[in-house]
Symmetry: C2
């Protein structure tokens, strides 16, 4: 065709949440792949594994015994990257050497006692129990005066660095607001100053008007592929109404978040007929005691698979040194996921 269009021509898209760009190269999908193949993903078959550190009643890496838990189970990570009990301090020498101690708490959250059941295999009630546990932890951790940000996330699958197949997520809570939410916060604030409305909710309604990148929805949340998606099947769960954090959410809204989480991961599992790997997590208001009307909670999913269960997208050379690059357009990815029912 003779006119510039997204389906045929190389272009850059702007991400107004983080202020970054993605290079889109739709014509490149035809490239043959002769590089590394990932391991075939085999779903766990047994509900209880006596050697698992996370199954109920078993011994953990650190030697402690897990209780005989029934729904979710949360404990402090035996090898947390963030700890709280050490002397604080800072180091500054000119413009090049700046560091500061960082206190925090790392927790693990087992989704259920069943060793074989990932989020898409759990009932809505069970996923709702996970979301309610997130809320409790967000509030409990956030209320400590040295915790200003609570990062809730899940690494699913060996290819995403997950070292224990028992379905679980993590919570890293800390003093500083980390880079990614910090960048978003600046852009959300700017937007709110200009428009008196919040950026995430306005974006959700702009996408609802267009319909092109919507995968699914319920009363409270929309599941979509953002216009500026980086990973081949990246997706976002974002609210139709203003909800700065889990704390602002009613029981029904928590259930709707669980419903969206369940619906999206079910579609993912159908996409290549495997237990679909990803890193996912929540971005929401910091717990620094300030008002954060600029924030709306949203959940992002970064799955590595590109064309099949064994071929992933490598974010390497150009992507590390320049900016992220993708082949498939966001519109095509959304259409494929919309059809995965």
């Amino acid at each position: 065709s003779q006119v510039f269009n997204f389906e045929d021509h190389s272009h850059r898209r702007y991400n107004p949440f983080s202020g970054s760009f993605v290079q889109v190269s739709p014509h490149r999908s035809k490239r043959p792949w002769q590089g590394q193949q990932e391991n075939i993903i085999v779903a766990e078959q047994i509900s209880y594994d006596p050697a698992c550190f996370l199954c109920a009643g078993n011994k953990r890496v650190g030697g402690e015994l897990n209780p005989d838990y029934q729904d979710t189970f949360v404990f402090t990570n035996d090898f947390g990257a963030l700890t709280a009990d050490f002397p604080t301090g800072s180091y500054e020498d000119g413009e090049f050497f700046k560091a500061k101690s960082e206190r925090g708490i790392c927790k693990v959250i087992c989704f259920s006692p069943d060793h074989s059941k990932t989020i898409p295999n759990l009932s809505l009630e069970q996923v709702t129990a996970v979301v309610k546990t997130w809320k409790r932890e967000y509030e409990e951790l956030g209320s400590k005066d040295f915790i200003n940000y609570v990062q809730i996330f899940e690494n699913k699958g060996e290819v995403m660095g997950c070292s224990n197949p028992h379905p679980h997520g993590q919570i890293w809570a800390q003093e500083s607001i980390p880079d990614e939410p910090f960048k978003k916060q600046l852009n959300f604030k700017n937007y709110q100053n200009h428009h008196q409305t919040s950026m995430v909710v306005d974006y959700v309604h702009a996408e609802l008007n267009k319909q092109e990148r919507i995968i699914d929805q319920n009363d409270t949340f929309v599941i979509l592929v953002p216009f500026w998606a980086v990973w081949p099947f990246e997706a976002m769960i974002a609210p139709k109404v203003h909800l700065p954090s889990l704390s602002a959410m009613s029981d029904n809204q928590l259930k709707d978040l669980a419903d969206a989480y369940s619906k999206l991961t079910k579609r993912y599992d159908r996409l290549f007929d495997v237990s679909f790997p990803y890193s996912a997590g929540l971005h929401q208001a910091p717990t620094d005691g300030l008002e954060h009307a600029e924030w709306d909670i949203h959940m992002v999913f970064y799955p590595p698979l590109l064309r099949s269960a064994t071929v992933k997208k490598f974010m390497v050379g150009y992507e590390m040194l320049a900016n992220p690059q993708r082949d498939l357009t966001a519109e095509k990815a959304a259409a494929v996921l919309r059809d995965c029912v």
Copy 2:
């Protein structure tokens, strides 16, 4: 110990080149690893592979024949992510939907006809031929009026998405300045406005004074682990004197860059006794026709391996959603690489 120190306590370090942070968790090195193991890296044994798309005289993916080249060989990528020959245009709808066509040229550069010889296995003369080829390409591509930035890089190893073992690098040249060099450019400019000197060279001398993170050096370049390194054995090759780009460099300085590239990759190969994987590349002045006195050329290396030839660092959940995290301190990594002789 009772005082805050880098070797025992969790902290954040600031990267003044890109304006970002890294979470350092030195106590976490003790964590046991039960997750994914990478394939054992087997070095290529044969100098010529009749099935290789990059060996001299062979047929490429696109069907063309490679010449019977003797040192380096450059060709336009048969499946380039950036192309030049299509209708340009832009799309803007409100604050959320902003995109622009992006023209460019992608090239592949074979380092030598020898299928088995990576950079650390080539002679200094051969590596110098690679660096001189970079200079020629940087100038040739950069002189085109729609090429404002030339990204030269190398993905080495299957684990870094490299799909052909024949030693080669890539050049992606394009209209826009991509995110990573763009961020650096802003910080370099700011620094130059304040100090009337250039940031990279001042940083190199600050590190030379401290000596703690220096791995090696020659007349023109220093090899160091930056204070704010993200990857376990990340390193940087940076100049002692002001050199905005390859174009500013004399033959001797080009040879010194080749020497540093060779020295660092030799140390890497000794570290875990394997052909060490990494993504590496140059950051240097854009080719947009403006003066760029704020820039100094430097080469960065992002290797994924963490503890052995088969255990890599996963930049996943927390790293994707919050900010990068490392266990080993930059000082320890530098000491280890300094001893790899």
